[in-house]
Point group: C6
Chain length 270, copies 6
C-alpha cells in the first residue's frame, strides 16, 4: 500500500469565512455521522471557502478536485503507471482521501462524466468502500473520510444533471451571496479598502444581481468586488477599476455594458 | 492461473435486511439452479442490500460492480498489464467471480455499453463459460458462480435499454419501498431514533412518493429518511434536519420545495 | 507461428438438439463445400445450439464470438502484445479458427462495426485467406475452416444492417421457435418437469408470441420456459415461478403484465 | 530498410477470368504508364477477380486491402511497434507494395476515412512518392508499382464519396455482370454443374436483377449462383438449394421472398 | 522537482508596442496583485504583442500557449513519459509557468475544451495552487506567477463560451485596432515604407472594417497592412501587392473582391 | 537536437512548370520577406507543381504534407517514441522544416483539424517560433524557413473553413487552369502526343469546365488530359482512351456521361 503524505493537504491557517446562519452546526452534525454533503449555490458565493473553513475547523486534510467533462473515473480512482519494474498503481485523489481520512471535495461534480459519479456510490452508503476494479482491490474508507460535492442549480440542463440515485446519497446545504453588510466586510478585509468603498461596490453588485436572467447570466460575484477593491487600493481611479473588474469581464453587449457603467457611476462619480 | 483471495469478498456480518414477501425463497430456488437473476425497482429501495444479505445467507463471496456508460468489456473481463517481464493478464471482477464461484452483482447494468452486456451472454446460458478473447482462453465458471443484475424500470429510455436477447437470460424479482411499518422499523434501527420520529419521517416520505411524476423525479428514499433520523439523533432541530436531508437534495424548484417543507412541518411542528 | 490447443474448443458431449426439418442435411452439404453460412431467426430459438450440435456432429472445434458494437477488427484478427523481448503477436479468435480449421461462429454479427464485417470478406470467397495487415502476413485458411454467422431479422434498422457485399457471401438458413410438441419435449428434458407442465408452459409462451409487435418486443423464448420449469422443479408454486421467469423479465408495462399474468393463471390456476 | 518477401504476394496460378470486352488491353496500356486505375461496378461482378487475373498476367505481386471506415492512414502506411530494443517501424501494405513494386488494390476505398484517401495522393501523380511522416522518410515508389481502387457507384451517398481531388487521379473502367452466356459458363465451371442447370440459375438471377431498386437493394450476384450450383452438385434438391442460396440471404420481406421463390420454381419445378 | 531554464522564456528585446490609452498602468496595477487578466478584442489587433511587451517591461518570463479544441488538460499541466527507468513526469507549460513565476498567456482560451479551463480555477483564486492529480502533488504558484488569457468576443457562439465561473475570475481589458495615425506609424516602421504609403494602406483597411458584418467576417488587420507594405518595399507594384495581401486572402466572393479592389485603386492608382 | 538530412527533401531536377502571369515574381518577393503564402485554386490546376518549381528555383528543400481530417497537431510537430533507453523525441515534418530552413507546404490545410492550424500561428507572425509544448522546448525557425498552404475555395463549407485569425496570416495567390494554348503545350509534352491531339483534348476539357455547377462538381483537370494523351500514345483508340480517362472517372450519371461522350466524339470521330 502506498503511504501518502497527508500533511500537504492540511489547511494550515484559518481561512477567512463569515458564518451566515446555522450552516456550521449542520455541517458538524453531518460530519459526526460522516454523512455525504452537497453544497448548492451560484458561482463565487463561497462554497469552496466554506468547505476549506470546515476542514480547518475539524482538523481534517482537504483534497479538492475540480471536476470537468473530460475527467474519467480513473482520474479520481487511480491508474497503473509504468515503472522500471513494470506497472505501479498510482492512487487518484479520491482513493488517497479514502485512505488518509481526508474530506474529499468534488467541485462542480455535475460537469464530470457519469462514470465519475457512479464511482462514488459505494463510498456514500453503508458500505463506505471503494472498489479499485482495475486492481482487484476493495478499499475500506478511513473512519474520518467524508465526501462533499458542490452543485450550481443554475447550470443544470436536461442533458446534464445528477441522477436521482446519486442525489439521494447526499444531505444538502443551500448557499447564496452573503448579506450586504457581511459582504462589504469581506470585500473591505480582502481587498484592503475602507468600509465606504466596500459598501459602494456591494451596492453596484446588488444592482447587477437583479439583472440575472434579464440580459446577464450571473450577477457580480464577491470575488469580482474584491478585484475592484484591490485595483482601487493600488491607486487606480475607481471608475476605471470597476470597468476593468465589474463591467468588461461580465458582458460584451453594448447596452448591458452601458447599464453596468451607469450603476458604477451612480456610486463612484460624485 | 491467478489465485484470487476470495475471503476479501465475503460478507462478514449479517446485513440488516427486512424480508418483504417470498423473495428469499424464490432467490434460493433460483440459486440452486444457478439461474441468472435480475432485481427490478426504484432508487434506494434495497436491491443492493438484498443481494448482500443473500450472499451472506448462502455463504458465497459477493463481487459488486457499479456499471456506468464508460465501462468497457475489458473493465469486466480483464486486461493485460505491463510487468517487468512483459505483459501480465489481470482478471476483471467478472472473471474473478467466475473463477472463485462468487455471486457477481452488476449494479445498474443498463448504464453499461452494449459490449459489457453481450459479454455476459455465454455465462448466462447452458455453456456457463466466459471467453477471454484477448487471451485466447475459455473459462468455465465455478459451479457456485451466479450472475445478478439490477435494473431501474423508471430510467430506461428508447435509447438505453437492455436488448431482448439479454433480458431473456434472467429470472426477475420486483422490488419496491417496504411497507410503512417495516420502513419505520428500518429507519429507527439505522438512524438510532425512536419509533415515533421514524413513523413521522415515513409519513413525510409517503407524501413525496405520490408526487413522483408530478414535479418530482423520484420520491424520498429510505436512505434519505435514515439521514434525517441521524441528524435528529445528533440533536439537530427536526425541521432543519428534514430540510437538509429530505427537501434540499431532492429539488430546486421553489414551489415543490414549499410543498415538501409544508409536509415536513405538518408532522414536526407541533 | 503460434501453436494453438484446438482441443479446448472441441464440443465434448453431444448437445441436446431436436432437428426441425432438413437443416442438418443442408448444413452438411454447405460444409462439404466450406460454404459460409448465415443462421437467421429470433432471440433464443436455438441458432447457437444448432451450430454447436453441428460442430459436434462434424467433429470440428467451435470458436464462438459474441459480437458487439465496440468490437474492433483487432478483437477478431489479433494484435501485438508487449513481451519481455518486445512485442508478440496474439492471434484473435478468427485467426485462431482459420489456423486450426475450426468452425468460427460470429454471433449477432450485425452488432459489430463495419470493419469487423469487412475483415471476413477474403475468408468468404475463392481466396479463403485472412490478411493480417498489421503483421504483413497473409494466412491461408485451414481446409476444414468454415465461417458461420447469426442474424436476427427483427433487429435490423436502416442504420445497422449488413452490407449487400457481405450478405451475398453466405448461404442462409431460417430458424424459428420449434413446433409446440418438440418445444414441450425440450422444456421437459432441460428443466426436469413432466410433460403436462411443459405443455402448459408452451401454451403460455405461444399466447405471448402472438403479442409480439402488439406491446411486446419479443415473445417468451424457449430458454425462459426452461427457467419456469426449473423453478417449478425446485418446488416453487407454478404461478410464482411463471411470474418470476415469464412475466417480470419481459415487460414493465402494467397492462401487459396483467395480460401475461392472466395467461399464466388460465393454465396454472385450477 | 525492411526486406519484404514479395513471393508471398505472387498470384501462383491463373485465376479463372472471362474477358468481356477490351478491358484487358486498356488495363495493360494503363499499366505501361503506371497510371492509377479505378474499377467501378456492383457487388460481386468480378472486379477483384479481374485485378487478380491482371496481376497474374503481368507477373506482378498483388497486395489487396479491404478498406473499412475504421481503417486509419497508419493501417495503410505503417506504424512503430515495440521491440526489445525500443520501437521498430512496420511497413503497412501500401508501403510494402510501393517498395516491392506490387499492384496495390484498395477494395471499396470509399469506405475508408479521408486520411486514407489523402495518403495516396503523392503516389498517384508525377511524384510517385509516399511520405512516411511519422518516420521522417520519403519513399520513392518502385518502378513497377501501380495503385488500383474499386468503387461501387450504387453505394455512394452525399456523406460518403471520394473527393474530386482524389477521383481525378484515376483512369476508370466500368464493370457489370457478365453476359448471360458467359455467366452460365462461369457458374458451370466453378460449381461443377452442367450447362442446363447453370443457364437456369442465370435466368433466375436475371429476373432478380430487374427488381433492383424495386424492393431489392441488389440482384443475385454471380457468387450466389455458384453457391446454388455447388449445393445442387452436392445432391441437394435444386429448389431447396436455391432457397438457401438465392432467396434467404437476399431479403427478409415475405412478399419479395415469395416473388423470388416463384422465379426459382418457374425454372426448377417441372 | 524538475528545474526549468526560465531564461529561454525571457523576452530578450523590447517588442514594438504603441500604447493606446491607460492599458499599461491598469495591467501593472493588476500584476502587483497578481490578478488574472483577460484581454478582449478582434483578430490581429495587438493583444499578443501587448502581453509580450508587458512581460518585457516587468522583466518576467512569458510562456504562450495557443489553445485549440483538441488541447487537453494534460497538454497544459503535464504528463508521465516513459524513461529508461520507467515513467518520468514532464511539466506542461502551465505548470512550468507556475513553478518559475512566469506570465502564462493562454491565447484564444475559449477554443480549448472545458477541462482545460477548469484546470486554471485553483490558480485564479486565493489558493494560487495547481493540483497535479495524476501525480498526487499540489503545486503552490511562484509569487511572481500571473495568468493572462485572450478572448475574441466576435467568435463566441452559444456552443462555445467561457463559463461564468471562469469569466468571473478575471479582470478584463478591451483592445481594438489602433487609431489611424498610430496604425500608420506601426505599418511604416514594420514594413519599411514611407508615411504616405502607410497612410494609404490604413485608409484602405478602414474602408474594409466598415464592411465587417456586411459581407466580410473581419476587416483587414494591421498584420496584413504590414504585409502589403513589405511587398511594396520589395519593389512590387502597389496594386498587385495590395491584391495579394489585402484582397485575395480575405474573401473569395467576386463582388466583395471587386469592392476591395476598387478601394485599393482609389488610393494607389493615380 | 536531431540532425536532419535536408538533402532528401531537395528538388533534384527542374519541374516542368509554365509561368502564367507574374506569380513567380510575387512569390520571390514574398519569400525574401519569408512571408507565409496561401495558394488558392481548383483541383489539379498546378498549385503543388508551382511550389515544387519555386523550391527548385530558390534552391530550398521542400517538405510537403497532405493534410486530412484525422491529422493531429502531433503529426505536424512531432511526438515521443519509445527507445531502448526510454522515450526519444521524433520531429514532425513542420518541426523538421523549421529546423533545416525548408519550405513547408501544407496541402489542403482546411482538411486538417483546428489544432493543426492553430499550431502554425507562432510560425507565421513576428515570433517565427514553434513551441514544442510536449517537450517544453521553443524552436526558433531557421532564417530560410517559409510556410506555404493550399486552399480550394470550391470546397469550403460553413462547417469547415479557415478561421479569420489564420487567414490573415497569409498573402495569397490565385491559381486557375492555364490558358488553352499553354495547357495544350503541357499535355503534349507530358503525354508525348502531337499538338493536334493535345488541342482536341483541351477543347473537350473546356466544354466540361462550363458544366461545373450544372451537373459536374469539377471540370476535367489538366492531369486527366495528360492521362488521355498517354493512353492514346500507347496506341489506344482515342475515343476509348477519352472514355476511360475523361468520362468514366468524372461521373456516374448516365445523362452527364452521354453529354461528355458527345463532346469526345465531336473532336475525335471524324
Amino acid at each position: 500500500m502506498t503511504v501518502h503524505d497527508a500533511s500537504q493537504f492540511e489547511v494550515k491557517s484559518e481561512p477567512f469565512y463569515k458564518t451566515v446562519a446555522n450552516e456550521e452546526a449542520l455541517y458538524e452534525a453531518a460530519y459526526r455521522r460522516r454523512m455525504p454533503v452537497m453544497l448548492k449555490g451560484p458561482t463565487g458565493c463561497g462554497k469552496s471557502r466554506f468547505v476549506e473553513y470546515m476542514a480547518w475547523k475539524l482538523g481534517r486534510p482537504l483534497i479538492t478536485v475540480a471536476c470537468n467533462e473530460d475527467m474519467t473515473a480513473s482520474d479520481l480512482v487511480g491508474r497503473f503507471l509504468l515503472d522500471k519494474d513494470g506497472t505501479k498503481w498510482q492512487d487518484g485523489p479520491l482513493t488517497m482521501a479514502a485512505r488518509i481520512g481526508a474530506i474529499c471535495y468534488l467541485d462542480e461534480v455535475v460537469e464530470a462524466r457519469q462514470d465519475t459519479t457512479v464511482v462514488i456510490h459505494p463510498l456514500t452508503d453503508h458500505r463506505r468502500t471503494l472498489p479499485l476494479d482495475k486492481k482487484g482491490e476493495l478499499i475500506e474508507a478511513h473512519p474520518d473520510f467524508q465526501l462533499v460535492i458542490s452543485y450550481n442549480p443554475g447550470y443544470q440542463s436536461l442533458m446534464k444533471d445528477l441522477k436521482q440515485s446519486t442525489k439521494q446519497r447526499f444531505a444538502a446545504l443551500d448557499f447564496d451571496y452573503p448579506e450586504a453588510e457581511i459582504e462589504a466586510e469581506i470585500v473591505a478585509k480582502e481587498a484592503g479598502v475602507d468600509a465606504d468603498i466596500a459598501q459602494k461596490l456591494v451596492q453596484v453588485a446588488h444592482r447587477t444581481r437583479n439583472l440575472k436572467g434579464h440580459g446577464l447570466d450571473e450577477g457580480i460575484s464577491t470575488r469580482l468586488m474584491v478585484y475592484a477593491g484591490q485595483m482601487i487600493a493600488e491607486g487606480v481611479d475607481p471608475v476605471a477599476a470597476c470597468q476593468m473588474t465589474l463591467v468588461t469581464p461580465l458582458t460584451d453587449d453594448p447596452d448591458m455594458r452601458q447599464t453596468l457603467q451607469a450603476a458604477v457611476e451612480t456610486f463612484f462619480v460624485s
